[in-house]
């Protein structure tokens, strides 16, 4: 879920920047000889456990005080109170969060409402860190703090920060929402009064994901190491009499490879963050199976096409992501979706086209020519190369007799198994398997020649029947993206390029673009253990091409379409594109024409724009995609950083999106409330989640200046909190525990520094063991000389 860091900005008791004293540097070797034995002990300690001692000293906790934590320790959401030790926090009670998601056809709108409480008697500044899914476009934030309501506006990042700091210094309530990473956001809230309750509501827009016949949404609730669910396993049910038409049914034991995450004992650990989730699902088509994969849900069917889902156990701890999938009722999966939205004088279009599926029993219509490229550089050593080899041998075994293939291995050199692709005869396959099996991981990474070799196609232009697929497997960062993309763009011909990245390749974004340029896909495999499983899924997909040579054109209007180049479509995958149309006052006419080839048959679909249905937030999805396009163009140096920034800024400001360059900022001004007048229900511009009692949240005594007021004891607030959690965090106890560790701030009007706890850059290890080795060597030589001297004396005597 999220992390809220509250800091009481005290007169700072921080470690000041240290000026290191100039260190006398006694010659290490001389010192070592004197402290002969001592150094050996040190050397052994350093070689065996130097790092371990460093780590343990960092997590040490003073037993007399409440447990101090760092933001990095938080695995789920937390309210952290800044202690007087720099960088350490005390975990404070959290009160609850509600996720309300409305799915309308192809998009979803998420509304997150969170309630936090300041249990201290000081004024605090809160920093609130939370994850959202990667495609989410955040466009709205409202905040109710005590008796004030704040609606945020989009501003350029620096300007937003300046406005926020000015308000903060003036003692005004202010909120700032910034993007840290494309999927991590922070809210900073200044001047939360003693005992006040904070309600934050933010909204985002996101496309619904579709894979095969399954539509899905995910709500990330966990910060930090992500809980990795296995991919959705489906089996095909071809019932007799169905004339070859069947449907997917979910694997009967989808959890088989999953170990239930352990649940913390609330008596021993800080209470986990209770979350409620509700989803209104209006798929736009008759619904089949609706399934929540991580949480038990109760379901009410409103109509054939809509459902409402709620967590059946009420609030749950935010210890895993919420994942929902749904399918259409049998044989009712829509094959086309066309939606439009008018914003200003532009129309935004979102189109889904699922090509007619090949029957399961029918073999792939086109023979294939597959070129496997495998990276056997040194960094692939260990599990990676073993798994990669195993999956490659498996893939070779799956080739059909009419297919052709070749294998290329590369490190800083490369070898091509055959001069040209060969038929997949048993003898050739045995040959190839032996070649793969003998691969050893060593050497550097030089991708370009291997890619060029894979793209060299002697039958280019003559053979359009065969589907040429290049599977390029590497764990390296691409150093020369430009060259690689140029090579792919210039030489791709009829080849399709499927990039597979193993490990934490920093350039996965660019690998995606290499794959897109090559009209294939990018598969990222995070850990070596997943190589076999993911590769198998990829190879299965590659055997089932549905439509090739896909292109889309908007007829009748000037259009800005993204993505520009469309990939081939594989079984059940929809083609998704967004576009902005400029038509002025003219009526919406014309069409989107999608063309491609199914098997050997040309396929053409024309989507009349006049038939498009009103959708929501499409402009934001288009803008988000264009922002990503600009980032890529900048990385590829197609445009300069300044040009990219200009584009991103213009898009984000126009579409009210939080981005790398824009933030949402709110300063206490709406509504300006006379002193002593309470908020009424009508004043709250946000819908409180069901079960949140307005009177309980915003009622109670009024805050007097500088006095604890409006105090909402955590125990009174959400009725749905499990008793165990309420008991685990009695408010008075928290308050007394907290009091000793805090600096009290007398007034809210004093200017205060902003301590934004940004994610730290982790610094690499920057010490060599060269000196240790020299010392060790010298000691050994000395000992050797000593031994020789002793022997010499013995021989003489």
């Amino acid at each position: 879920m999220s992390t809220l860091i509250v800091s009481i900005p005290p007169p700072r008791l921080t470690r000041s920047r240290t000026e290191p004293a100039p260190f006398p540097m006694p010659h290490a070797a001389l010192t070592a000889i004197v402290h002969f034995c001592l150094v050996i002990v040190v050397a052994i300690a350093a070689l065996s456990g130097g790092n371990a001692t460093a780590q343990s000293s960092q997590t040490e906790v003073q037993s007399a005080q409440p447990k101090l934590v760092t933001p990095a320790d938080m695995k789920s959401g937390a309210l952290l109170m800044k202690s007087n030790e720099e960088g350490r926090f005390i975990e404070a009670p959290r009160l609850g969060a509600d996720y309300d998601v409305t799915v309308s056809g192809p998009t979803l709108r998420g509304r997150v409402t969170q309630m936090f409480h300041n249990p201290t008697e000081g004024w605090v500044e809160a920093i609130y860190v939370y994850p959202l899914s990667e495609g989410a476009a955040v466009d709205s934030m409202k905040m109710v703090i005590g008796s004030r309501v704040i609606v945020a506006e989009i501003k350029e990042r620096q300007e937003a920060k300046r406005i926020f700091e000015a308000a903060n210094a003036a003692g005004q309530k202010a909120a700032l929402m910034e993007q840290e990473r494309p999927n991590i956001f922070t809210n900073t809230v200044a001047n939360i009064g003693p005992g006040e309750t904070v309600v934050i509501e933010l909204e985002y827009q996101e496309p619904v994901r579709q894979s095969a016949d399954t539509f899905s949404l995910r709500i990330p609730l966990v910060v930090g190491p992500r809980y990795n669910p296995p991919p959705l396993v489906q089996v095909v049910d071809l019932s007799p009499g169905g004339e070859g038409w069947g449907r997917f049914v979910d694997d009967p034991v989808p959890d088989r490879s999953r170990i239930e995450p352990s649940v913390l004992d609330p008596a021993l650990h800080a209470p986990t963050n209770p979350v409620t989730i509700s989803v209104r699902l209006a798929a736009g088509f008759p619904l089949g199976i609706v399934k929540s994969h991580q949480h038990a849900v109760s379901e009410t069917q409103d109509t054939e096409t809509t459902r409402t889902l709620k967590l059946s156990s009420g609030a749950v701890p935010a210890d895993r992501d919420f994942e929902l999938t749904w399918t259409a009722a049998a044989a009712a999966t829509p094959s086309v979706g066309l939606f439009r939205e008018r914003v200003g004088d532009s129309d935004y279009i979102l189109a889904f086209v699922t090509p007619p599926a090949l029957k399961e029993t029918q073999p792939a219509a086109l023979p294939r020519e597959v070129i496997f490229v495998i990276d056997n550089s040194g960094s692939m050593g260990g599990t990676s190369i073993r798994e990669a080899k195993a999956s490659l041998i498996d893939a070779l075994g799956r080739l059909k007799a009419e297919d052709r293939f070749n294998v290329i291995r590369f490190d800083n050199t490369f070898d091509v198994l055959y001069p040209d692709t060969m038929a997949a005869t048993p003898a050739n396959l045995v040959d190839a398997k032996r070649f793969v099996d003998r691969l050893q991981a060593s050497g550097g990474t030089e991708m370009l020649p291997a890619m060029q070799a894979a793209l060299a196609d002697p039958r280019s232009g003559q053979d359009n029947r065969t589907l040429r697929q290049v599977v390029f497997l590497t764990d390296g960062a691409i150093g020369n993206e430009n060259q690689l993309i140029e090579a792919v763009a210039g030489m791709r011909g009829r080849s399709r390029i499927f990039m597979v990245g193993i490990g934490s390749a920093p350039n996965s974004f660019l690998m995606t673009r290499v794959a897109e340029t090559g009209r294939g896909s990018f598969t990222h495999i995070a850990s070596p253990e997943q190589v076999d499983e993911r590769m198998r899924a990829l190879f299965e997909k590659l055997e089932q091409p549905a439509v090739t040579g896909v292109s889309a054109k908007v007829m009748g209007h000037a259009a800005d379409v993204t993505p520009e180049a469309l990939p081939d479509l594989y079984r059940g995958e929809p083609m998704v594109l967004t576009a902005r149309l400029t038509r002025g006052e003219a009526p919406l006419s014309g069409s989107i024409d999608v063309a491609g080839t199914i098997g050997e048959q040309p396929w053409l679909a024309s989507l009349p724009l006049s038939g498009a249905v009103e959708g929501k937030g499409l402009s934001k999805l288009w803008a988000r995609r264009k922002i990503a396009d600009a980032e890529v163009a900048r990385t590829l140096r197609q445009i300069t950083m300044q040009e990219a920034d200009q584009r991103i800024l213009a898009l984000a400001l126009e579409h009210h999106l939080v981005s790398r360059l824009t933030s949402l900022v709110a300063v206490d001004k709406t509504p300006s409330r006379p002193q002593g007048v309470r908020l009424t229900r009508a004043d709250i511009p946000l819908n409180l989640p069901a079960g949140w009692d307005f009177e309980k949240v915003f009622g109670g005594p009024l805050p007097r200046d500088g006095q604890p007021g409006n105090l909402q004891l955590p125990g009174q607030l959400p009725h749905r909190l499990p008793p165990g959690q309420r008991a685990a965090a009695p408010p008075h106890l928290k308050q007394t525990r907290v009091a000793g560790n805090f600096q009290q701030v007398a007034s809210a009007s004093a200017p205060r520094p902003i301590n934004t706890q940004q994610p730290h850059v982790t610094l690499p290890k920057t010490a060599t063991d060269a000196e240790l080795r020299l010392i060790l060597g010298m000691i050994l030589l000395l000992a050797s000389a000593l031994a020789m001297a002793m022997r010499f004396r013995r021989v003489r005597s």
Binding site: T18, A54, A72, Q758, H760, R773, L781, S784, R791
Partner: protein
């Protein structure tokens, strides 16, 4: 030692060799000597590699400057030179590599991924070993000038504002912070022989920025 005695010792040893066995204490001493030489060679190799690599890096970097494209210093390298750091007062001059993996750091300072290039908005971080390339950091003083030339010809000039010791995982460096900053990081303390959690940081701020073929433009005067 008298000559006859020495001769008899040699004779004894020769006999031993002829008999096909080496006395255990000789073997022990020889093994110790071999291990010792091996350890010293390894230690020396680390320093030698750090020095030698810089020569190759310098050559590759100059080629980069001329062509404006990244050039690998040797064909099997996984990294390439991205910038040159110069501290004129100390006469220090060192080539920075892309990425701060352990492999790259053996050859030169690394530009920590996920941080911007120097001169771009945010905080750039260069990291290097305290006992090789960044040994000079211990002599850096507040007010020192740091010149950075990047492989695409961009030049920037920084001034050291402060130094600081932090833990490796709570560096307090925010790569996306406003301003144009540079941090040089290395292990601390400088005279320690074992790896520890502490890092020494040199904080610097941009004074001047120039793009290729353009005159230096003053961004701000150091206060």
């Amino acid at each position: 030692m008298k000559t006859e005695e020495a001769a008899s010792v040699l004779a004894t040893r020769r006999q031993g060799l002829h008999a096909g066995r080496i006395e255990p204490d000789v073997m022990f001493a020889a093994a110790l000597a071999i291990l010792g030489i091996a350890a010293m060679t390894q230690g020396g190799w680390i320093f030698a590699k750090a020095q030698l690599a810089q020569i190759l890096l310098d050559r590759a970097f100059n080629e980069s400057l001329a062509t404006g494209r990244p050039v690998k210093p040797w064909s099997w390298a996984d990294t390439w030179p991205v910038a040159r750091i110069e501290v004129p007062r100390l006469g220090a001059r060192v080539i920075v590599l892309a990425g701060a993996s352990g492999q790259a750091l053996a050859f030169g300072p690394g530009h920590v991924e996920s941080t911007p290039a120097p001169g771009d908005p945010g905080t750039a971080v260069y990291s290097a070993h305290r006992d090789t390339h960044f040994r000079f950091l211990k002599d850096v003083r507040v007010g020192d000038r740091i010149d950075i030339i990047q492989f695409d010809g961009r030049k920037s000039q920084f001034t050291v504002m402060s130094t600081e010791v932090v833990q490796w995982n709570t560096s307090g460096i925010d790569a996306a912070s406003p301003g144009h900053r540079l941090v040089l990081a290395t292990c601390w303390p400088f005279d320690a022989r074992t790896a520890g959690p502490d890092r020494f940081l040199v904080h610097a701020e941009l004074v001047q920025l120039a793009v290729p073929d353009a005159a230096f433009a003053v961004v701000r005067e150091p206060s």
